[in-house]
Symmetry: C2
Subunit: 352 residues, 2 copies
DNA sequence: TGGTATTAGTAATTCGTATTAGCAGTGTAA
DNA sequence: TTACACTGCTAATACGAATTACTAATACCA
């Protein structure tokens, strides 16, 4: 029997070569524009025609094996699964995926289980499944970052960790964001400003708290510990926080409440409505993240918009540079957020 | 020069074999428990010890190339990127990832661009990057499903499409869900029940509308077209919907409003508060999805809980069966949702 | 005229694993 | 005693592409 091109198999480079009457090497040269090889136009056309005819596609596994590389980047979910869906992370991932795809990479998502369980990060890399990682939601002494650094695995992180660790990160300046919020509120005449924030121990939280303190200082306001309320990132926390603040005596009770997330602010808005308080007139409320909700709430929520898409693009660039061993210094970058003023912090166009 | 085990390379099976004094074949047999081969305990131990000593990990690309397989499943985001974050999908993905990982698979996420652009689906599969797909958010004539069926690519979908297409899907019975809602409202004495739903053309939407109609019929209520309001899935739509319903004359104005999503219900809750309506007492409101928000809203939101994690597990099982060519019939399965009654549809424990 | 470059390729090897075919030695049933 | 099966392995090959090393033919220059 003659050698039939096994037709139930996807065509390989050799099939293309046979059809075009050249060697497999030549096909490879053409497909990769391998430098140092001259292929006349006519031959190239013949090969390209064969590729089109067979509808050939290169095999990813073969290429990865040969080049000892990977076209995958890992991303670990540590969230216990959509219990709280995280718009900011969703947006970050989306922009990261887009940037990765432009460079021919894809994102492999996995569940990281316990935050402290870094085995998966080592494992996926050692098996040659991923070339590096994107990490989000970082903290001081973050075990994932410690692990990646120790194993010399390329990564880039959305968020900082210990200052003495040198790695590629990008972050939004939470200090600046919250300072802007307080300045905005102070400019509208508020002198007693509450803050509803997360439990202690989160890097992002402490930055925003620092910005709050800085804002008060800049406005010449003496901070009052009673203005601070802490809770998990939930609507409930916002409601509980407002209840707490409303129990304070008149002369101590805040006229404005800043929240470290829109989700918490939604709780404040709800509770204010339930208490018969007119938000924007009797009470100013601000959120953080400028999520899709914010502009459609009643009243529309003043919030802080973070350049999330830019973070995604930046981190992907930094990560791929490491993987390619580009001589680009591994370093962090801090981006500025932008205050989006809406009615919840006082009617637009009206200064009191 | 003697042959040094090149130390800056990750150890391969041959390195293990050399250290254990056996052939690479034997190591492979041991690692894969290849049937039909007898390896005495002592040899096995020796090889396992070598594996431990070298901290060997098999190379994914090599294995995939040799076995002509893949340990990846694709999932395409069609959402334009976190503009609206989708808690149900997040939850679905999380449970799917967990199930996949149990079976040694991982999830590759990509951006599908236009819903009609199915090229990526073909491409990733033909390049041998993924073994199949999980598809969500389906619709009638869904081009993605048409493409996957036409190319005979394994997949499983969260949601149905054309009834005449045979493929593996799992879905939650939206008809049942909304029927339960209306029955619940009718049982509390409501005779005029509004529905705020999505624009026409979505499969999920029309099921829920059908359930609404069915619920009215079962309660002996004549439907009124004026009770129906349509809009995108947003808080804004809820607010606009309630405004519309409140413009109706007294004898036509609904005393209860069912929404096809919690997000929309949040808008209704906000608008009701703004209008001075006491939700739960003067107006009943229900959501759908039982998202994390629901129980913390004011008042807590009656909603419909869908067995999302079960869907994820089921679809992964169905998909992997196809990939393994298990003789399991390719078919769909419809799961029952559960009504979670809370205060927004009338004070708990009180029947009027 | 010889020597070197350039052009247009090809053959052979490699990446790391899975798998097929087979071999030497022992036991065992006919 | 032969045939056969089983044990405990190994050698060789294939998967599909990238890469290195090479060749044959022509061109160019002195």
């Amino acid at each position: 029997m003659a050698e039939e091109p096994r037709s139930n198999r996807r065509p390989s480079m050799s099939d293309v070569a046979r059809l075009a009457g050249v060697s497999q090497t030549t096909v490879s040269f053409i497909l990769n524009d391998t430098p140092g090889n001259s292929i006349p136009h006519e031959t190239r056309e013949r090969v390209l025609a064969a590729i089109r005819e067979l509808d050939y596609r290169p095999n990813v596994s073969a290429r990865n094996l040969r080049t000892q590389s990977t076209n995958l980047i890992g991303y670990g979910f540590d969230d216990p699964g959509g219990v709280v869906s995280h718009p900011v992370l969703d947006q970050f991932l989306y922009s990261a995926i887009l940037s990765l795809e432009e460079a021919g990479y894809h994102l492999l998502t996995f569940v990281a289980g316990q935050r402290t369980d870094t085995a998966v990060y080592e494992e996926l890399h050692r098996r040659g499944q991923v070339s590096g990682y994107l990490v989000a939601n970082t903290n001081d002494n973050d075990p994932r970052i410690a692990c990646l650094l120790a194993n010399n695995i390329p990564f880039a992180s959305f968020g900082r960790a210990n200052d003495e660790w040198a790695f590629a990160w990008a972050d939004v300046d939470g200090i600046s964001g919250m300072t802007q919020v307080v300045a905005h509120l102070a400019a509208r005449g508020h002198r007693r400003i509450g803050l509803i924030t997360w439990p202690e121990g989160s890097k992002a939280g402490s930055h925003r708290e620092e910005g709050y303190a800085e804002g008060l200082r800049a406005a010449g306001i003496a901070p009052d510990p009673a203005w601070l309320f802490r809770g998990e990132n939930s609507v409930q926390t916002g409601a509980a926080g407002l209840s707490h603040l409303l129990t304070l005596p008149d002369e101590q009770r805040p006229t404005a409440v800043a929240c470290v997330s829109d989700l918490i602010a939604v709780g404040v808005l709800n509770a204010a409505a339930a208490a018969g308080l007119a938000v924007g007139r009797e009470l100013a409320v601000t959120g953080y993240d400028d999520s899709a909700l914010a502009q459609f709430l009643h009243p529309p929520l003043t919030s802080v918009r973070q350049p999330i898409a830019a973070i995604g693009r930046h981190l992907v660039a930094a990560l791929l540079a490491q993987i390619r061993h580009d001589p680009i210094p591994v370093q962090g970058v801090l981006l500025e957020p932008e205050l989006i003023a809406r009615a919840s912090s006082g009617e637009l166009g009206i200064r009191n």
